[in-house]
């Protein structure tokens, strides 16, 4: 069992296809994920990174498993804060499941390390990003506070 783990579940009125695109494609992620984009060839073993608006890397890793519109597992290391980089790789999983007129999105972020600083830090960010994603897909608008990279970071 992972030593540090958070699980986030949200139900979004959309289709698995639209949600999948919103999670991966730059024109969507920019709107709800602080102006960032994700870069990868999206196949097992491919490198993956989150690029900040200035092009530098916020987090990086590798695609471990990918099943389009269903499941994505990433190896994930923070590149911005040395104390978090030093913790090594965490594991992040998206699972998408159709439930009636909604899609259940489960995000699991875990690390084999007790009291992980990375897991603690992302635990504040995930709810904000996911709530904004839900708003974007259901109303066409993400939350204003999640549309650009915070000043001074």
């Amino acid at each position: 069992m992972a030593e540090s783990q958070f699980v986030y579940v949200t139900f979004i009125r959309t289709t698995p296809e639209k949600l999948w695109r919103a999670l991966l494609e730059p024109e969507f992620t920019r709107q709800f994920w602080m102006g960032t984009t994700q870069e990868s060839d999206w196949k097992p073993g491919a490198a993956w990174r989150i690029a900040k608006p200035d092009g530098s890397t916020a987090d990086s890793g590798e695609v471990l498993e990918i099943e389009p519109c269903r499941k994505l597992v990433l190896k994930w290391q923070n590149e911005m804060f040395p104390e978090m980089t030093a913790e090594g790789y965490s594991r992040m999983t998206y699972e998408l499941e159709q439930k009636g007129e909604t899609v259940k999105l489960t995000v699991t972020h875990e690390m084999e390390k007790r009291d992980s600083k990375l897991i603690k830090a992302v635990s504040g960010g995930w709810p904000m990003i996911l709530a904004s994603l839900k708003s974007l897909l259901e109303t066409g608008e993400s939350f204003e506070g999640t549309r650009r990279w915070p000043d001074g970071m």
Binding site: M1, A2, Q5, F6, V7, Y8, V9, T10, F11, T106, T108, S123, P127, M128, L130, A131, K134, S135, F143, E144, G145
Partner: protein, 109 residues
């Protein structure tokens, strides 16, 4: 979507269920057996409360082999905050909450 919100508020309306959420907040990813330790509630009562928390999505469960682990899902409460608290008020509210915590801790001491 308000039917989902009703479930969240109903689930939060019982002190026993808030206690279970506190336990998960302190130690996320527990089995039913672990959650029952140090509680005066019966196992049946805990099971019933967890079911309501799960239906309200305040608790998410994941199977690890034969163990069902329970996690506090912060999304519904976050969505409530998003609905009634503007992003510009948030910083001030946090400062006030910290002040309150500090003053109350001083009084205790």
């Amino acid at each position: 979507m308000d039917a989902a919100l009703d479930k969240v508020f109903k689930a939060l309306a019982a002190p026993e269920r808030r206690l279970l959420l506190d336990r998960l907040r302190a130690d996320n990813g527990q089995t039913l057996g672990q959650l029952c330790q140090h509680l005066t509630m019966t196992r049946q009562a805990v099971t019933r409360h967890l079911k309501l928390l799960e239906e309200a999505t305040l608790v998410a469960t994941i199977w690890r082999g034969r163990e069902k682990l329970h996690y506090l899902n912060p999304m519904p409460i976050h969505e409530i905050a998003e609905r009634w608290i503007g992003q510009y008020e948030r910083g001030r509210l946090r400062a006030l909450a910290e002040l309150k915590a500090k003053l109350e801790a001083d009084t205790d001491g």
